[in-house]
Structures are given as structure tokens and as C-alpha cells.
């Protein structure tokens, strides 16, 4: 199944990637997606390796935890803790 992944702030800069169409197996969780992404290279591993605690994630614009199961067509986003205001 295909999902869309968005990256924001320093993640976007470090990965040199703002968005990505990504293919992964049916029933995969957000955790599984992080594991897959961490295999894409050094910068990816720095962000997504080792049970990320500083990575925030959303699915379809709602905050989501790593155990959440993804569905085809989901809009997933990864970003650091927010710093607005």
C-alpha cells in the first residue's frame, strides 16, 4: 500500500526531503515505517533509528503514537517537537 510522508523543520533540512510517496506492507504500524525509513541512509538512521523519542508523528493531521496501524492513502508526517508561539 502507498502512503504519503511529509517532513517538517530540521527533519526536512537534514533529509533534504519535504515529502515522499512510500510503499509499505498492509497492516504496517508507524513504528514499522520508522524502521524502514531508518534504513534509507545515515541521516535517516539518525532521526528514525532507536525508538525515536524526539520524533513526533501525525496521521491524517492528527497526532499519532508509534503503535498506530497505517492504511493505504494515509498522510503521515514526521516533525520535531513544536516551537511556535
Amino acid at each position: 500500500m502507498k502512503v504519503t510522508i511529509l517532513f517538517f523543520a530540521n527533519f526536512k533540512e537534514l533529509l533534504d526531503c519535504g515529502s515522499l510517496e512510500y510503499e509499505l506492507e498492509e497492516g504496517a504500524t508507524l513504528q514499522k515505517l520508522c524502521e524502514n525509513l531508518s534504513g534509507k541512509g545515515r541521516q535517516w538512521r539518525a532521526i528514525f533509528g532507536n525508538a525515536p523519542t524526539t520524533v513526533k508523528a501525525s496521521i491524517n493531521q492528527e497526532m499519532a503514537d508509534l503503535q498506530t496501524v497505517l492504511s493505504a492513502g494515509d498522510e503521515v508526517a514526521f516533525f520535531p517537537p513544536v516551537t511556535g508561539g
Binding site: F8, V82, T83, G84, G85
Partner: protein, 154 residues
Amino acid sequence: MANPIPQEIIISDKPFDLNEFNQLIQANQGESGAAVIFTGAVRVSEEESGLTGMTLEHYPGMTEKQLASIIKEAKSRWHLTRILVAHRVGYLAPGEPIVFVGVCGLHRAEAFQAAQFVMDYLKQKATFWKKEHYAEKSVWVEAKPSDEKAAGRW
């Protein structure tokens, strides 16, 4: 009854017109006995290596949803007759306002509390990220534990 503001959320890459926002909150307050207004701005640094500006990025769509949810929560906790939350994105020079929160309530206690609640939640939950620019470098601002603590008290 004070007329509510039709558009309660403004996310803009243009400088704020604070007079307009103040007017929206304070004009013809009707039954509202209290208006509280908060403005946050980019600090002006006096040091040589100081801040020269800031860029604010956000997650279009999600940010609006989160602000709407924060406003809904504030209205469920306090009797608010008006609320306006505005946030800048894009490049800002030192001294420019970043965020505006204005609320009207029947009494001052609820207006003060609601404004503080909205700011605490916004800082903790709304998908904005600041990048500070200095003469020699630019750095992404890191989240502060104190902001998490501030949001946790509500």
C-alpha cells in the same frame, strides 16, 4: 451579546495589523465585561552576535485543525464571548509580533485564564517551528521542558 468574530483563526505570512485585531476583540463588547489580549514578538537583541530575524514554518491544514481544537476546548472550559488566535509564518524581523491571542469573557478571571490556556496549549501542540537567524548561522529552536510543564497544569 457580543458578536463573535467570524474568523477566529488567522495564519498569515504578512505582518499583523494589531490595531485591527484589537478592534475586533474590543469594539462593542456587549455583555463581555473583560477583554484580555496577549501579543508575543521576536525579541530585539542588543548583542553583536544577536538575533537578526526568524523564520516560522508550519504544517498547513494540521495547524488550523489544532488551533480550532484548542479554541473549542477553551470555550468548553470558560464562557467566552469572543476569541481570536493569530500566528505569523514566514520571515519575521526583530520586534515583529509572532502571535496574538485575544479573548472576551463575562469576567476578568475567565478571560485571563482562557488567554493563558490558549497560549500554553498553542506552544505545546500547534505545529509551528521557529528557526532563528544570527549573523553567522541559523538554528532551529529546541522545545523547552518548561513549555510542556506550562501546558500540563491545565
